[in-house]
Symmetry: C2
Subunit: 228 residues, 2 copies
DNA sequence: ATAATAGTGTCTCTTAGACAATATTTC
DNA sequence: GAAATATTGTCTAAGAGACACTATTAT
């Protein structure tokens, strides 16, 4: 076997959630150079016995105490320019995770300085390394997948209303959707939503039916994203 | 900086083309263990000064003498299980390339044993490493992207007819499309096709208008893949 | 009763799919 | 002219978008 250039391989996470009506991403504040004081995406080295998905799920659990079974976790892409980290040659395999709003702020792995930041308030040059690009790619991916997949439910609690789901679309797409047409759409696609039988109560207006995610893995025909 | 486990990083290619009415993929025959005698996807180590895209394009040029400007080249995903190569820990960043039918068989880099094989004839266990999975993922990606992108033209010569383009869809999707509805669809989406003014000649039937790829980067509304 | 939110029905327009009809070439 | 392929047109049905209307709760 010929000689090969050695790389470090990390798994970095773009973890989205919705808090206070805003799309937020999990970031940690870097304590060391390079980029000390900047925000960075959480992540870490892939360990010798792990495959890439396992490394990403381990990081996700460490940071949020939520595993891929609760959240949604998928590979986003790899980033490996020669100068992205001045210390060594490193390739990052980025993952996209969508999680519901967490009851506790953020669990404490070794990164107790992790926090949720609204995506719209994160300036690109406040992020370390090439993490602004990774974040942008993750946002594009999440927006696109809402169109043709039942993924929006990953942002919701296990039981949710049609309005909850609509708000996810509106926040991620930064748009407004007609509640009536949206309702007709999501309830007419077979297997997309499954009624639990329960209803909400104690809020203003007519109580809403509760649903959970159905079996469908694809939303067909797709939900159309309004032109803006 | 703490110690990190060293990886080898390779860029592997899923290169599709259409030959003799069949979807074909570029494979090389392995001469050494492991998997001596098996087919494998072309690829190689990412070099110290290269980013991932550059490595993929270099490999593509070495194997086909076509660059990403002529063909289409995009990152597919990364594969890095701990046991995928018995010799060392290696992460492969896989790329998907779509190229037109080449005038010469396959150019001679160091891999003169490269050849085009019909995808349908490649048995999964005839491929080395986890390349059967990478190939399957590449096929899924290519099929999906034909729906909403102008990518089918990447399989065609610079100038092509509507029927040429339709045959790409039919071959990649392994389906039949109505020539009249297809014609109406692709010619009605603005920016998808650009007439060159020329026509075909010397074939049977009415000569067809020639087109080249238009400026559009998205096909909207999408081309619907028939249910089978 | 009023306000607020949930859910249903109706109309119109676009577009996909089926397929008839016409156009232009080779043999 | 016959056969083959290209291109246009016509009809129908499904679905999206606009929006009136009904339903059920809290105050």
């Amino acid at each position: 076997m010929p000689e090969y250039p050695p790389f470090a391989v990390t798994a970095d996470l773009v973890v989205f959630t919705i808090r206070d009506g805003e799309l937020c991403v999990l970031v940690i504040c870097r304590g060391e150079e390079p980029f000390a004081g900047s925000w960075a995406l959480p992540g870490g080295f892939v360990r010798p016995g792990e495959n890439l998905d396992e490394a990403a799920e381990r990081e996700l659990i460490e940071e949020t105490s939520l595993g891929g079974a609760v959240a949604h976790l998928e590979q986003l892409g790899s980033y490996g320019g020669p100068d992205r980290d001045p210390r060594m040659r490193v390739v990052t395999v980025a993952y996209l995770a969508l999680v519901p709003e967490l009851p506790v702020p953020v669990a404490g792995g070794d990164a107790s300085d992790a926090s949720w930041r609204p995506v719209r308030e994160l300036k690109p040059d406040s992020l370390a390394f090439d993490h602004a690009r990774i974040l942008a790619d993750g946002l594009d991916r999440a927006r696109a997948k809402l169109e043709y997949s039942p993924l929006a439910a990953a942002f919701c609690q296990p039981e949710f209303t049609v309005a909850d789901l609509r708000r996810v679309y509106e926040i991620v797409w930064d748009t407004e959707l007609d509640p009536r047409n949206f309702h007709r759409k999501v309830t007419s696609v077979p297997g997309f939503l499954e009624p639990t039988g329960g209803t909400t109560a104690g809020e203003r207006g007519r109580p809403a039916l509760l649903f959970r995610r159905g079996e469908a893995t694809l939303l067909h025909p797709a939900m159309l994203r309004p032109v803006r």
